[in-house]
Symmetry: D2
Subunit: 337 residues, 4 copies
């Protein structure tokens, strides 16, 4: 039984992790930490966990966590995990960070997008980027995992198998729309129900911090034009990706690499994914259309930003790190309604 | 490993059952039947189950199901299960019916509300009403279980512990609102997204078929005024119940009967439930307010109509029937977002 | 041309009033005041009014408003308008207050529910309760109008014609559900999109401040059990009202009083209203069911809380006060989608 | 007073037109026709218009309409209006067609996208494309107007002022998302509330029938890659348009052409539109971002598909055709909640 601690368990990523671990038979949550809820019981803070898990929130204490836990997950805002992770690693407990602090390998790029110096650039070299289908072997022996961002997961899984064949001459266009849970738990005017209901808008065009993460993991000097949006729903990211390939190539053959991936489903040419089929699951669904008239290839992917885009991918990483069945605790069908 | 068959797996109750059983380690779905999808794979019909369960839909065949299954669930429209259940029971397989055909004990009441004769009134006597907290012992040895209706679960769990003490002189008022999944999967003008979005309405006031079911299970000749509504969301029933007690009594003491119930949470006086705390769970949350000014007691309950109100309660019944841990496959916290 | 000022134009009631007055050909908005937006243009604060109305927000100045305006509307939070209204009345400009400060006639009841002393109880005697169908004549000569609360409008319009005939022996049960715009514009955790989406809950059971307002206007010592709820949508209140009449009486005949009301539509026995039919309109729709089995009468009403429940009713009051066609600027059909 | 007839008044475009004309002081709706509702009153079919407009639906009769009307609007499905329009024009009544039959100038392109021969190609030459800001003079004397499609309005208004300066070498990428009202009123499985709620998907990538319409009106041989989506809301289209200009140019200067347009609002560089600011209005809001890193220009536009994208644009055309103030009946601010 893997003993798990969660730092930042009141955020949406953290509480989704709690929900998933409730159905994971080989792990046990033994410690919760949250700066805003110290001393409160889990049930007081999150009534949906009443009668399920009898734990209280503690102040963060790296040594204490390391003594009681085999693994600590972090779900804290960007730039707030780097110090905590360094303490936890110094105390020699394994760490899975669901935030952005250890995803970018270049500390200067981190600074450019997160507006602060990285305090532990040495750990950037040892952290493993937790995109399971592409880093499975490295994850098995990892001590520090950086779970990819939700948008990058939806962009990288459809793009990585193709770019060598596609050789696009102009930047790849990624238009993505996310549910509001991606914006976190703090109330804001823009996300007040009456203002967000029936609303859609674009934001951070060309400047979103997931842009360098996507480009880093695509490699090969590929540029992306990343245009994120939010829409009036809670969960899920649909990414529509327009690639202008140099010539024609066999898209379906490229995607054969995912035949045995447990949580990537390639739907095929003309079969486009719906968010509901991945809702509350760890899946990424992928479909595409080849437009011979224009010469473009349009890829569409769907992920649940809180599961396949964060907490589910984190559990899959855990399963790998501890030698468990990779699908343990994740074998759920889409919550189509 | 319990071998499970599901008849009517494409309806919302059936597919939710499929989703829950994906996380149930002691059962295995081995057969699916659906009149509308015979010959299609599960993945074709419900893409959210791709790469999870490799089954195809078969035509209904009671003997074949009885040979391959230890238990058959039915999730078919009202009045359509009675014949199928009779065939399955004749073939000696255990049955859990999620529909209404075996809930009412009086065939004449069934006819009055469902507008057709009951074809197998003999089975009404042997079917066990699957309201677990109140029929636990009978369920352990049941061969035929009728899962309660979603509205009755939300009404009976808060009301049953109280009525002996409350002795209401006028009918209990139950105003309940349900998400649209309760109306089933068939497209209708009233539930077309643009017409149901931002809409709320009341329906079947005083005539809803769950009225006699609630009164039967309350016993004691209690009348209820049941006023159902639908609102612009997918899942969950909030029931607001106004009782006019004869005198004062200790509400909290009455609810002590639920202290050890795994899936009933009594929140207490003035602590009113939210649908999100029970969303995608098997819980029923209960709170109340005593209004000394008017002399009324107002109870509020929340259930997820597809889980705690249907498929989750059905799984809990299965766990009891087969001697498993009652919470097996159901230990999930509320999907608060 | 009536010259109009609006105090509190950035709140949801105020901005809806602005929207309605855009289509009102006999009035002109000449001044806007808002504590939070002084010095900003309307377009900066509310981009949806760009290219329509070229005004800036001013600090509140009663004399200045009285000089430039024939009428001032107020849409400020409860307890904040009483002082402003007193200043405006001292400056001799007509006032329509969309907030609660001048609705209750008894200052001690005001204090009990709003937790503060009323600073201008003398004005309570002269203010006219702006429920148009019941106070039409008084409104024609009113200088100070208190627009009714949104819930009271939805409760009073169906109840007032009936109670003399119904003579209910037990309190009338009013279960109502409102869209989130009723909770105002300030962001709160409970109304953060991901927490309110797919959520319904009850609040202030037996203690809501609209309770005494409803009872005051029903008169005759009638008690009501008022149970408000919020649901996952922006606009509209559906009220389900259970009355236990002493004997039988002709409901339809009672409602004949509304035959010539321009904005009350009596749908009839068994014809229950939908929010979408009144959405963005000044209408109140009413239907009912007589349940002979239980002896109860169930009334259902629908209003748009921001139009028929606030700003539209306010415009109708203005039309009366200034001798205009009562329907001026309000002749819109329901925004059924 | 312009006497108006509406053919297809039960569809979403038609009923929105009815709603707008309720606030239009210089026109009067005198006839309604609908194949599905002949003989029914407007109130029976659309309860939201009760007590507002006392009309019944008639069977289509071109001569009868021409005798009683100065103008007939059509809101019928694609390919169904061409015959009706021809009859109406033969009867010499002015026509505004809100459907697609008279937008494309090339009958062979019409056939390629609508899968049927155009029965009246002669009328294609005389119909005026009702994109008001670009065809104002022609509209003043038009007898037959084709209101642009909702997606084309959202794409053409931001693109037309720029393309001469931008000279894009690769196709313009238009990713747009629409509310479900754009899919019409007929219930479908995909738009059943529980299946569409919390769902987003892409459709008709590269093949949508609005593609040739956009390219025709852009002129200059420009190709577009048009990728439409639907999201879980009722109204509004947000279009995100990626242009790859040959060199740099002054975007704001190009948009100066809209300075005096009553219903086009240019928000400026970095100021991106929200659907709520145009909701229930005739406005198109436009913002943009220049990405120097990638060399792309990203434009974002927002329109209400039923008003600025259909019925509002149609009323603006009417105002021009009859010499009225262009903004008559359309001066509403955005329904931000």
């Amino acid at each position: 039984m893997i003993r798990v601690g969660i730092v930042g368990a009141t955020g949406y990523g953290g509480r989704e992790l709690l929900r998933l671990l409730g159905g994971h038979s080989e792990s046990e949550v033994v410690a919760l930490s949250s700066t805003s809820a110290v001393g409160k019981t889990l049930e007081e803070e999150l009534p949906g966990f009443g009668k399920l898990l009898d734990l209280s929130f503690e102040a963060f204490d790296a040594k204490g966590l390391a003594e009681r836990c085999d693994l600590v997950f972090l779900g804290v805002p960007g730039t707030e995990s780097m110090g905590l992770v360094a303490e936890l690693r110094a105390a020699e407990v394994k760490v899975i960070d669901m935030g952005p602090d250890f995803r970018l390998k270049d500390a200067s790029v981190f600074k450019a997008y997160y507006k602060t110096d990285h305090t532990h650039p040495d750990l950037l070299d040892v952290s493993v980027y937790g995109l399971v289908p592409w880093n499975r072997e490295a994850l098995k022996s990892a001590d520090l995992v950086a779970v990819p961002g939700c948008y990058p997961i939806g962009a990288l899984l459809p793009l990585k198998p193709l770019l060598d064949a596609a050789k696009p001459a102009v930047p790849v266009i990624i238009d993505a729309i996310s549910g509001i849970s991606g914006a976190g738990r703090s109330p804001m005017q823009a996300f007040h129900f009456p203002e967000m209901n029936e609303n859609v808008w674009a934001y951070k065009l060309g400047t979103h911090q997931h842009t360098p993460e996507i480009e880093q993991e695509l490699g090969g000097g590929h540029q992306v034009q990343f245009s994120p949006h939010v829409g009036p729903y809670t969960r899920g990211i649909l990414s529509t990706i327009t690639v202008r390939p140099k010539g024609s190539f066999d898209v379906a053959a490229c995607y054969a690499c995912y035949d045995d991936e447990p949580f990537v489903r390639v739907l095929g040419e003309g079969d486009l994914p719906h968010l509901t089929a991945v809702r509350a699951t760890n899946f990424c669904d992928i479909g595409w259309v080849t437009d011979e008239r224009t010469g473009n290839l349009i890829l569409v992917s769907a992920v649940d930003n809180l599961v396949g885009g964060t907490a589910g991918m984190a559990v899959q990483c855990m399963n790998l790190m501890f030698g468990l069945d990779e699908t343990s605790g994740l074998a759920f069908g889409g919550m189509s309604v």
